[in-house]
C-alpha cells in the first residue's frame, strides 16, 4: 500500500511523479485528473528531458475547451503514487502556465491500482487489487489504519 498526504484546502490534488528520461531523472508535479482518459505531460518538459517529439504519432483529443492535437510519446518509465509503468505512452501537449503543474495523471495510469481519496483529511491511498478474501481483509486493515 502507498499513501500520501495532500492539502485538502487546495482546489486540486497534486503530487510528485518521477519520470525516467533518456537524459536522466526528472521529478515533476502532476495533478490527479480522473476526468482524463490519458496521462498528459507538458511537451516542452518532455523535449528538454530528451524525448523526440518530431517523429511521434499524433492524435486528436477532446479537452474541456475543445479539440486539440497531441503527440503520443512513450516514456521509459513513469512512477507516481506507488505505481510504476514502463514504456508508458503519454500525451505531449503544452499546458497552461497558470495551471502550475507539469502534467495530468489520468485514468490510463490510475487504473493499475485501487485508488482511495479522503478529501476531508487529505489522504490518498493506492492499493493492489484484491486477490481473495484474506487479501481483501488485509487491505481493509491497512485502509483502516491509514485513515
Amino acid at each position: 500500500m502507498f499513501w500520501t498526504r495532500f492539502d485538502p484546502t487546495r482546489p486540486d490534488v497534486r503530487f510528485w511523479a518521477r519520470l525516467l528520461s533518456p537524459r536522466g531523472i526528472v521529478w515533476c508535479e502532476m495533478v490527479l485528473d480522473t476526468g482524463s482518459s490519458r496521462t498528459v505531460l507538458d511537451e516542452r518538459l518532455l523535449a528538454r528531458a530528451g524525448y523526440d517529439l518530431i517523429a511521434t504519432p499524433k492524435v486528436t483529443v477532446t479537452t474541456a475547451s475543445g479539440r486539440v492535437e497531441a503527440k503520443v510519446v512513450t516514456v521509459r518509465q513513469i512512477s507516481a503514487l506507488g505505481i510504476s509503468a514502463d514504456n508508458f505512452p503519454v500525451l505531449a501537449m503544452p499546458l497552461s502556465q497558470p495551471l502550475g503543474v507539469d502534467g495530468l495523471l489520468g485514468l490510463d495510469f490510475l487504473r493499475r491500482r485501487n485508488l482511495l481519496c479522503n478529501f476531508d483529511k487529505g489522504i490518498l491511498l493506492t492499493l493492489p487489487f484484491s486477490r481473495n478474501f484474506l487479501h481483501r481483509l488485509a487491505l481493509s486493515a491497512q485502509i483502516f489504519s491509514a485513515l
Binding site: F2, T4, R10, P11, D12, R14, W16, R18, R23, G24, I25, V26, W27, C28, E29, V31, D33, G35, S36, S37, R38, V40, D42, R44, L45, A47, R48, A49, G50, V59, T60, V61, T62, T63, A64, S65, R67, A70, G82, L91, M93, Q97, P98, L99, G100, V101, D102, L104, G106
Partner: protein
C-alpha cells in the same frame, strides 16, 4: 565561494512563491519522494526553467525536479481539466 548546502524542498518553495523552480535532488524520504535539494534556477517563466533543465543535463546532472511554487491558480481564475481520446 560558499558551498551550497541542500535544503528541504518545501523550504525552497516557500522562499520562491510564485516562481517555477529547478532543483537538483539530493535526498529522498522513506517513500522515495524528493526530500532535499539544491536550487539551480528559478524564474516566473516556465519556459526559462525548462531551458535550464536542458542546461543542467548538459552539465551532467542526473536527477532534477521542476515545480511551481504556488499559488496554484491566480485570483479570479478557475481550472477545468480533462483530456479524452476521440473515438
Amino acid at each position: 565561494m560558499d558551498e551550497v548546502r541542500p535544503e528541504p524542498i518545501e523550504q525552497i518553495r516557500r522562499r520562491h512563491e510564485g516562481e517555477w523552480l529547478l532543483i537538483k535532488v539530493t535526498s529522498h524520504d522513506e517513500n522515495g519522494l524528493p526530500k532535499e535539494g539544491i536550487l539551480l534556477f528559478h524564474s516566473p517563466d516556465r519556459e526559462a526553467v525548462y531551458e535550464a533543465v536542458d542546461a543542467a543535463f548538459k552539465r551532467g546532472e542526473n536527477e532534477l525536479l521542476t515545480c511551481f511554487a504556488g499559488p496554484l491558480v491566480p485570483e479570479g481564475w478557475e481550472v477545468v481539466l480533462s483530456v479524452l481520446d476521440e473515438v
